[in-house]
Symmetry: C2
Subunit: 209 residues, 2 copies
């Protein structure tokens, strides 16, 4: 029955992931998770002891997924401009398929900052930094790197995190969110590339002056 075990535990885990992602820790109900998994509440506790432990397992997994997505893409070995185009295409498509993920992580982390430590340990930040600083960025002071990286992530994440608001505003102006989002996959990297190129030439000017 080990096969059966695995299946049940997995069904619970998937159901819990969906419910926590949708409702958050406080809004999630063990009953909802049980219903969604097609079993009863008692089994949840048999497999995961408590709501908190179940939540931590789910959070851990989701945080890993979200952050390995950053890391994986940044670590691609290609020129900066290509990397930007590749990142936004991949990352924004990923978020499209996981629209609740950013808000879930941001909210839970905001209300319980200790959660951050758990998943940051898993990520090799240095290798991302190295990869990023290989390209045009090496013309900028190291201090600028965090700004650049956070700008990149901001442009990618916000449209999904604020989707209900953006969608309504766009509708008011006669635009469609899905179209907007597809456009943005291509415009966002241009935006970054332009900003960096401009910055680079400014730095060059300063240096040559």
């Amino acid at each position: 029955m080990t096969e059966n075990d695995r299946l049940t535990e997995e069904k619970i885990f998937e159901a819990a992931t969906a419910v926590f992602e949708e409702k958050g820790l406080d809004g999630a109900r063990m009953q909802d998770i049980a219903d969604r998994a097609g079993i009863n509440k008692a089994l949840l506790h048999y497999y995961f002891r408590s709501k908190e432990k179940l939540f931590l397992a789910v959070f851990d997994n989701l945080a890993e997924i979200l952050f390995s997505k950053f890391a994986g893409i940044f670590q691609q070995d290609m020129p900066f401009d290509e990397k930007m185009k590749y990142f936004f295409l991949e990352h924004m498509t990923f978020l499209q398929q996981n629209p609740k993920l950013p808000i879930f992580i941001l909210t839970e982390v905001s209300r319980n900052p200790e959660l951050v430590d758990k998943f940051l340990a898993k990520i090799d930040l240095n290798s991302i930094k190295t990869r990023m600083s290989e390209d045009p960025a090496n013309t900028m002071p190291p201090k600028m790197l965090p700004h650049l990286m956070i700008s990149i992530v901001s442009l990618s994440v916000m449209p999904i995190a604020a989707r209900p608001i953006i969608e309504k505003v766009l509708e008011t102006a006669g635009y469609n969110f899905d179209e907007f989002y597809e456009e943005r996959k291509y415009l966002a990297p241009e935006f970054i590339i332009n900003a960096v190129r401009q910055f680079k030439s400014e730095t060059d000017n300063n240096t040559t002056t």
Copy 2:
């Protein structure tokens, strides 16, 4: 006792604002709000009937504050570059003083999108659009305006919304969040201005070709 009424209702409202902002709708407890306001639970219901009604009052007020902040700043009458510098300085300082506000609004709206309608009615989107399109942006297609505006807001909001994560990552690299945040008040507008300037010259090239 009308004076006293106003005071009590206001105390409750302030306490509720703090608790809802911190814990969200599901995590907030009427008991916490009562304690914080220095009264008892029964009085909450005397003034606001139910938790939901109290929440709606609080949400409404906070959404108004957050969005009037956007609108007010964008409506300033000054050249585009100045407007950007002014916006990031004002807005990021405002968020610094209200760090829980963005996550609160984003989370509640994400879990109950109907909330959006309520506060969007209050905002004059057209006047913002007009103000924005007066400047360099009138060299870009109208379709680009939403992208630009959402990019601006993204760069301003994300550092606060993701603060616990960013803070830890920065620390790992030997940087300090507060310093980073102060730098960003000045770097973010440069970033936008550069990206737009570059775009503008590209458009010009295309036009002259």
